[in-house]
Symmetry: D2
Subunit: 408 residues, 4 copies
């Protein structure tokens, strides 16, 4: 790979990506463009501009953008249409943000004539894969630089030395080892590493940042109504909101009621297990609500099909294959099933859990006259069940007869 | 179908199956054998013996059995090895009991020379299917009588009239319409019908029978440890217990902490949607714990395979195909994956939720030296990740090049 | 079910459906509308008009239509995009025609104000299910009459008596038992029953009607080129043709070369096994060609996904669920994958087999510079493979280390 | 990775692996153990012993073994129980041999105290992955050396120079470029590269080595009977044979009749497409016969389940994951379904195709009395079909009613 001439860096403004910025300048002598995105991580972005300028980035090479609406509308919501969970429990909060960042890195590279992009993910994790597969799929001519796999700054001490040598300001609390590593966006906050590395040891309470400890959540339940159109949430308690606003509001509600905390050991795509603590307050409510509305608006045929392909879909997102033909084909299937997933779900939020307690829809497939224990006015002929069972039983009977015959 | 001569009836001792008993005697003039099982439904069985005798059943034709250990060991535990949930949420508490009852009905029929069995399930539900498919698979020569599909007692009034005409004692509270229909066993209690029939209306609090309202659950969390061997729970807090004892103990814990309540609209096999309230206190803890122990002991290859076939497996159990070649083949797959699912999970029980907080095992696949953010002493070469990503990206790049080429 | 007033009958003009026509008139006293479709079965349709008139059908109630283009374009081609085969071998030639016939029956019923439709399928087969599920999905208000399940004409003798009593002309060869039962359309001809009923006995040569015996096929191979656009065949040997024309032409070629004969025992949806002889000359070539063009234009991710859902898709069509949400969702997935399935396949037709021998496409993903055994000018770095393998091996190594630890 | 001290080399005796042998000695100065296996590739093995001795290998370090029976019994037959085909057409002939070779390499390494194994697969193909994943799974402490990814002998000229410098005898026909690369074992022969590299160009006739051109196959069909027990072939024409003998015999039959030739473009695990010509004469017959016996002995539930997981199973074998928990779990499922796959299939072999024409078994599930068009003596009540259809149709009707309601 020839040396890059101009690199678009996914830049948070923090110490690590500032070191990467400087390292790119010194190692490759290349021009650096910074991209700082507001994905809802809850940090101000203007300080990132200042730091970038301080590190010699030209104003026109500093990109700072609020991508929260795009994030929720084009990435989070499509994923939630599938009720996607990885390994039974993880709502994919980190995984789903990477394709969007990659997409903007590539677009900015194309706009600015950069020949490479760079990210701050390490060589042990999934994020490097997610960034790099996305870039490969979007523009295979663009190089990707992953400093953590290249440089010799292999310890905290070396990193801090490099920072000092290069006049990179170091916040006081960054001098010591961080107690754990954090990633955040509008969908979730994840914490990994150091104090969390032994899965036999409970995570300290201070790890959770967005969700109050359940013990401190309100002693009274709160009931909310979430309205969906074609599988996407469009209103809370009757008030229409934009995608990002809805997720923000659900985050507040979930955080307040202690909802969405997960202590999890997962299988990384790169082959090892890792332990993380995930906080997904709004997403946890949204998943429950989406399941609730599907219960009355989606047919069993489509629903069971969706369930059967969901693990594969979630795995693709986890592994970084958002921009792949197979994810897109599965999305076409999923979206097709959401045509009538429209209606409202009432949920009870209380002390760490969000439970559907009622749901209604003009698009409901629920038929009280069919299911009632009362007289059903001829909607359903119970005798049909005998034929239904007899034909379903036929092959089982033939097997039993055969088995008895051959066993003697 | 020729008229049955001797029928084994699944007999609860309640009003409905007492009416069925009498109806079988009068309609077919046949001898009736009663089978009453203790599946952990929490009712005494001896009254059923008295009632059967009162209705003219010969003592040698009255079978009363405690099948709780068999139920948990041979049905519940194998199912939980699969982390089976139907339509994302339902733990299959009713579904999994039917095959066992059917098996005993068939065995008793063979022992007593009966040519038929009878059950009290209606023509609208899944249970009729589950009973009858099981019987078909176990002994296709045995007839099944489903009185609800045959008789003319199509209203509560007619049933009560029949009872009175036949000297069947009617408990006071059975005179009026029951507010809902209940099924219970060691794994769960389900409630359906009447006040629950409109899924837009919240279930009244009094529906829940085994689980305290979360608001009344203890204000202090409780921590427990569940130990597994080859995928099955074998001990709680270090104390070894039999399968049924473990589930009983987990039920107590779950019930006390308000864990395992589900308000659900599901798709019945017979084609309609129905709404139920399910209480699965111990099962909910068991599922969480089993997932927790699999997290560290099961490889991603086997785990993702299990996840992908789980919906099909759950559907088979829901639909009544426990005794089918495909369920047995899936069970062989699942059991194969449980060989090393041995270890202990620590859970926090609090106000409606059971969460894994720690897990450990001699069989763990978790490798701290691989995952650590610290120096890893050569366990992992980050440069390998570049090759891994490059080859995973190759096809995506070839696609991107092709698409660019053909689009102009 | 109340008695029908006006019935649209799927009418072939043959003896059996003529008897049904008369039976509907006499049994229900209802007005009958006949629908006779040219699906490419190779029979003239005008005699059906004459017969219908003879049986008292008003001219405006006789519908005779050539639906071959719609059949191939909207049913056969979408199915072939999936490479659908049932139970490994059957190309679904009968199954795929039923939804189209049902659709026209329903449309004609709606146009003519009929309240029912009727078909001539027996109570043992799949076709009744296919007709009736399609009608249910398209217009649930329309009743379906299945005379074979209703009437008492349970033997050939009784049928012939009924025909004679009702002045229905009986062709000479229809007096005796037919040697087997035949269904035909542009995609295939199936033969079942009587001489074919014992699967241990070879089918007589005279069963095959469209395909020459391989021994009599030309001794010289014939090479053809089939061109596809977005997954559908559009030209043969460079000549653009309509969908039905292409399939007709492929049938000629396949029939001449003895291609597409299948002797098969399959599992019917209604629970029993049956044996059939299927002739699908053009379809067999089309499947091979479609696979050939996908080989170079479709990525492995999308391709393997398609392969994994194909059996479910084929089962749905076989079982009669063409008009179901799950088939439509799967179709959305499949169609999404066909966007670039454009190009040409060269096949060798010879003595019963059609084999791809070459394929090319502007949309090809094949990269000679990547795959070559020669120097590849830097397209591929073989060292990447080491990293790729190491990370794929990581979990296997962790398992092996664990297993060694716990076993020894 | 530290330098290896003693290496077990998969040694064919040919030029390439002889160069590797020498290169290992010179590059690493390590002791070399050679392993040469008779997998049915049709070459004599004793010359390999001579060459190894000539290159300085000690007699006790030369392992030459006939593993044909183990190959067919423990690898080929289990795979054929699944009807495994990769990407619709490829019978996995190369893929299935690699795990066995790897297993013996590891066992010999453990016996001889070697710390590494080496193979002659290139860095572009699948075989390197298959070898190395197998070794990782069997003994993660053993290093794998892949000379083609390490050395500088990157052209034919350099290889020949190295051979000459090291007194490695070069057969005359090896001086020029081979026209294509060949792999062979008892199951198949594959040809790739050079003249085959352009998939738009037909493969020359001389590529096929084991199968006569169809045009030259006998003009008379040959009928054979293959008998199975629990899914494995055990006899041909009534004569019991060992696994390897059966496959050898089927190869003779298939080769003679031109059966089992495949021109194929496939997706390699390493991300590129490649084109190969595969000859699998006996395997093609075996697959057809296995399908034939399953048709009458396997129930639809188990059969459709098998079909649905087959693509994943085939992919695992293709990708090199034979020794993985997920392949083993799938095998448990597959083997469970084969319990009654016992009986005999009659096939017609003629001019390139093997077709089942009859099949019979004591374990048959085929029920003539159920399927017959004749009177069935009450085996089947056609009225049951109405109930069966009505309940299957119920959800479709509810959907249609809903859709009509919401659309206006």
């Amino acid at each position: 790979m020839s040396a890059p001439k101009k690199v678009v860096l996914a830049y948070s403004g923090g110490l690590d990506t500032s070191i990467i910025l400087k390292w790119l300048q010194t190692e490759y002598g290349c021009e650096v463009v910074t991209f700082t995105a507001d994905l809802g991580q809850g940090e101000e972005l203007e300080p990132a501009r200042k730091k970038a300028e301080l590190l010699g980035i030209k104003p026109e090479n500093i990109y700072i953008e609020d991508v929260r609406e795009e994030f929720v509308k084009d990435f989070v919501f499509p994923m939630f249409r599938a009720n996607a969970v990885y390994e039974g429990l993880y709502l994919l909060g980190t995984s789903i943000a990477r394709p969007l960042i990659s997409k903007r890195l590539v677009e900015i590279a194309e706009e600015t004539g950069a020949d490479a992009v760079a990210h701050g993910a390490t060589g042990k994790g999934n994020d490097q894969v997610r960034f790099e597969l996305s870039v490969a799929a979007l523009d295979p001519a663009i190089k990707v630089i992953a400093p953590w796999r290249e440089w010799k700054l292999s310890s905290r001490t070396k990193l801090l030395e490099f920072a000092e040598q290069n006049q990179i300001p170091i916040a006081k609390n960054k001098r010591g080892e961080a107690p754990f590593s954090v990633d955040a966006n509008l969908l979730h906050t994840s914490s990994e590493g150091t104090v969390l590395e032994d899965p036999a040891v409970e995570a300290p309470d201070y790890v959770a940042q967005r969700i109050v400890p359940v013990e401190e959540a309100p002693n009274e339940p709160e009931f909310i109504e979430v309205t969906f159109e074609k599988g996407d949430a469009v209103a809370i308690n009757g008030e229409a909101m934009s995608p990002a606003t809805i997720l923000t509001k659900l985050n507040e509600l979930g955080g307040k009621h202690g909802i969405g905390l997960l202590d999890f050991v997962e299988n990384r795509f790169v082959g090892m297990k890792s332990r993380g603590v995930y906080e997904t307050p709004g997403g946890t409510i949204l998943l429950e609500a989406h399941r609730g509305i599907e219960q009355i608006t989606m047919d069993s045929g489509a629903g069971h099909l969706k369930d059967s392909i969901m693990p594969r879909y979630a795995e693709l997102i986890y592994n970084g294959f958002w921009f792949s033909p197979e994810r897109e084909a599965l999305q076409a299937l999923i979206d097709k099933t959401q045509e009538y997933v429209t209606g409202t779900v009432k949920l009870k939020l209380y002390k760490g859990s969000a439970r559907t307690v009622a749901r209604w829809s003009d698009y409901s497939l629920y038929s009280e006259k069919h299911v009632t224990f009362e007289e059903d006015a001829g909607a359903y002929d119970q005798k049909d069940a005998a034929g239904f069972i007899n034909l379903n039983a036929l092959r089982l009977k033939l097997i039993a007869v055969r088995n008895k015959r051959v066993k003697g």
